[in-house]
Amino acid sequence: MSTSSVATIKLFGMLKTLVPGGELSLDFPQGCKVRDFIEMLRPRWPEVAELVVQKKVLVSVNQEIAHWDTEISNTDEIALLPPFAGGSLGKV
């Protein structure tokens, strides 16, 4: 059986307005996949989970964009990334 652990998930941009405190702590089993992790978000933060499912928000693990099958552990740096808006101009 995998052990479970609490990890802090970094939030950016408009996600911080959706989650009181601007940070998100989640208890998840070691070695679970990103797809499972998203489902574990749903009960408390349904809006956030929905944005990830719709690919409007990306999950990064250790500063790289993760896929649904990426495995995560509590030593990983996990973040939820809304659409980027660097540079200056909206349109090309």
């Binding site: 970094k10 950016f12 941009g13 408009m14 307005t17 409007k56 990064s60 500063q63 973040a79 990334l81 809304p82 659409p83 980027f84 808006a85 660097g86 540079g87 200056s88 101009l89 909206g90 090309v92």
Partner: protein, 147 residues
């Protein structure tokens, strides 16, 4: 200055404003072969999607933002016939008219400088974890470039 220190200065995410002349000098001091520099400077505009904007704030993912910008610089140096590339993005509050982002590409020939610079800014917008909130008459709005 040691080469490593100098390389670090070629990719930066910083709060302070910057001088374009100083950043250009940083690039051209790397080689006397440089004959053309193409530069992109993004500035804070007072209109966005039909809304008036009075100022804006940029937020970045510390660590990952720098890593992505370094990736962009390295790929540009590899994929284009250019001599040096500098990428700089500000964060924090920024007033209308102020500098936001700077890309400086030095090359022997201008066609390569233009192509690489254009690629860098397009790529920056795609892969760099930086977010913008605009201060409008309706309040603060987080900008979603790719809805």
């Amino acid at each position: 200055m040691a080469v490593e220190t100098e390389e670090v200065l070629l990719v930066r995410v910083q709060q302070e404003n910057f001088s374009v002349d100083e950043e250009i000098d940083r690039v051209r001091s790397r080689s006397t072969r440089i004959g053309g520099l193409n530069i992109f400077l993004g500035t804070a505009r007072d209109r966005s999607k039909g809304r008036d904007v009075s100022s804006m704030t940029f937020e970045h993912y510390e660590g990952m933002a720098q890593r992505k910008l370094r990736e962009i610089r390295e790929r540009a140096l590899k994929d284009f016939d250019v001599i040096e590339v500098l990428i700089l993005h500000r964060y924090g509050p920024i007033e209308i008219g102020e500098n936001i982002v700077l890309i400086v590409v030095g090359a022997e020939h201008r066609a390569d400088a233009f192509k690489a610079c254009r690629w860098c800014i397009d790529e920056l917008k795609k892969i760099t974890p930086i977010w913008k909130s605009e201060h409008t008459p309706d309040g603060e709005v987080w900008v979603e470039e790719h809805p």
